[in-house]
């Protein structure tokens, strides 16, 4: 637990975040259960999980706001349990919802966060100018934050969070609800920060954000249930086949498909069904089975899994898996 190492921005290939069997208990409840992973400098790392999965608890520990029950975590080489204050000087934190003072202007917000994060006075003006340009807010320095549209606000919040040049920045659902153009602009900035070696740690339950990460940890009930690149996860963990079925009538078809041999899950999706099935399911056999139950089948095709499919298949308690073997 010796953390006497001087606080240095991540420069080498040493992990920027290192988490080893981290545990957090609240009474008898285990919120984070033996979580281990590492991130490399410049990596965009996603922590993806539903509310209550232990996501926020993990982040709070990594930000030095909550003491781990056991295990070890270092951020920028600093032990979070031994030196929580030092950790906080080396990270930036941004949540779209809570970061800004709405009644302060763009410049006042930046000045406030610069002061809070201890940006040296001689650098502050240059950093504020940098942040204003980065957020595309030139000429709007005197606009109150509450008058900015969603996309600008979110880029200003990012500017506030990285004014002190932290080697690691934590983003909590940074782009929920903003329009796709603003989201793309935002991620363009994130990619440039990553090019410069900043580690970007994203927590979210929005698949649309998760897709942007280099690597993803899927968390459920306090544990990491899968870890890998998005494309890897899609190939590896969508264990079964995914099928789109065009058929009628829909509700009856969904019910009938649920009882079909080899079908694990059946869901209505727009004008058709999405089925998760065992890998070697015979499409012809399924078509015949449905037809025998009076379902009109127009088409069945295999489709590629989305991250959401992977996520749901790994985290849902499935009562129907028993039907799989018949």
């Amino acid at each position: 637990m010796n953390a006497s190492m001087p606080a240095q921005p991540a420069v080498s290939s040493a992990p920027s975040v290192s988490v080893d069997r981290l545990v957090k208990r609240f009474g008898k409840f285990v919120a984070v259960d033996e979580v281990s992973f590492e991130t490399a400098p410049g990596e965009i790392f996603g922590f993806l999980g539903p509310n209550g999965s232990g996501k926020s608890t993990t982040i709070r520990m990594l930000c030095g706001l909550l003491r781990p029950s056991s295990g070890r975590a270092t951020v920028a080489g600093i032990d979070v349990a031994a030196e929580p204050e030092a950790v906080r000087r080396h990270i930036g934190y941004m949540s779209q919802k809570f970061s800004l003072y709405q009644d302060l202007t763009v410049r006042e917000n930046l000045r406030f966060f610069g002061g809070m994060y201890g940006v040296p006075a001689r650098e502050l003006a240059a950093r504020i100018k940098w942040a204003v340009t980065m957020a595309g807010l030139d000429g709007r320095e005197s606009t109150p934050a509450c008058d900015l549209a969603g996309g600008w606000k979110q880029r200003l919040a990012l500017g506030c969070a990285v004014l002190h040049r932290p080697p690691i920045v934590f983003l909590d659902e940074p782009t929920s609800g903003v329009d796709p153009m603003s989201r793309r602009h935002f991620w363009n900035i994130i990619h440039q920060m990553s090019d410069d070696g900043t580690t970007v740690f994203v927590t979210t339950h929005y698949m649309e954000e998760a897709e942007y990460c280099n690597r993803l940890a899927l968390v459920a009930r306090g544990r990491i249930v899968a870890l890998g690149r998005p494309s890897e996860l899609k190939h590896r963990f969508a264990s079964g086949a995914l099928l789109r079925v065009e058929c009628a009538p829909l509700s009856e078809a969904a019910e009938a498909a649920r009882s079909a041999p080899g079908v694990i899950e059946s869901a209505i999706f727009g004008g058709g069904l999405h089925l998760t099935a065992v890998k070697d399911l015979s499409i012809e056999g399924l078509a015949q089975y449905l037809a025998a139950l009076g379902i009109r089948v127009l088409a069945i095709e295999r489709i590629g899994p989305t991250l959401e499919d992977v996520f749901v298949s790994l985290t849902r308690d499935r009562p129907n898996t028993a039907a799989q073997g018949h």
Partner: protein, 325 residues
Amino acid sequence: MSDSAAQAVEVRGLSKRLGKVAAVDNVSFTAETGKIFGIVGPDGAGKTTILRILSGVTLADRGSAIVAGFDVGANPEAVKNHISYMPQRFGLYEDLTVDQNIRFYAELFGVDGRAREINAARLLQACGMSEFRGRLAAKLSGGMKQKLGLTCALIHRPRVILLDEPTTGVDPISRRDLWQILYSLLAEGVTVLIATAYLDEAERCHRLALLHQGRLMFCGSPAELKRSLPGAVLSVTSPEARKVEMRLAGAAGVSSVLLLGDAVRLVVDDAQARIGELSALLRAANLPFSEFIRTEPTVEDVFVSKISAAGAGPSFAWKSQGATS
């Protein structure tokens, strides 16, 4: 079924200003009875304002809306017995139990005890919440609160239900459950209008209106929406995805490049013609890559393409200045 009954909602030239902003700007669409109609768009698109007008809570400045056969502008009170409006923050009483909340809404809508019991049992079962009837609303998870809200909103068996972003902030599993419940309502002839900021949820609707800054950008089925994208979408993966993205940006015939983890998504004018050219480009730059695969456009691809075509794109002028010095 007569023609008028086939359309549960008919909106013509609807406009509404809120202060200086045209929150809804000349929007027209129809929603068919017994189908799910999506009102899809990012924050500030006008979704909530439209739902408030349709439910008779707000009056439009111009245009007309007929909901379940009633003109809501002329007769906003009459429509209220036949519809249900579930705002983003549905008024659950946190210190009441699940059952007590349901009873409260049943009485508000004048549903008698027997009908209430039958409906509540059916809806709670569909939501997987039968065993939580005695639990305080405050102790429910976000997804369960939304399901209870839906149960309360449906207790008087409305013909049209207007849902304002019921899935926002709800985890993917609860989101899927909510959609299943909505589909199960259709068999009874209920019409569902649902607002969502998740563009990917558009694919779950039978038809949808895509909105941006108060204006209707598209109205039709998800399949029609995807067909409306000029060109094709290609995807390529690479361990050097960032470099691949930068190399392909601005290449001939490429209108949009998106870096997603280890994949790069491109919108091109002609898939057949460009795959060879783009592959050659990457080989010349010595970048490793998997083959280019043609993929289905997403709703987001179409949305971005339509907005870019309208010339409303943001500037990408900012250049890196070294966040870690």
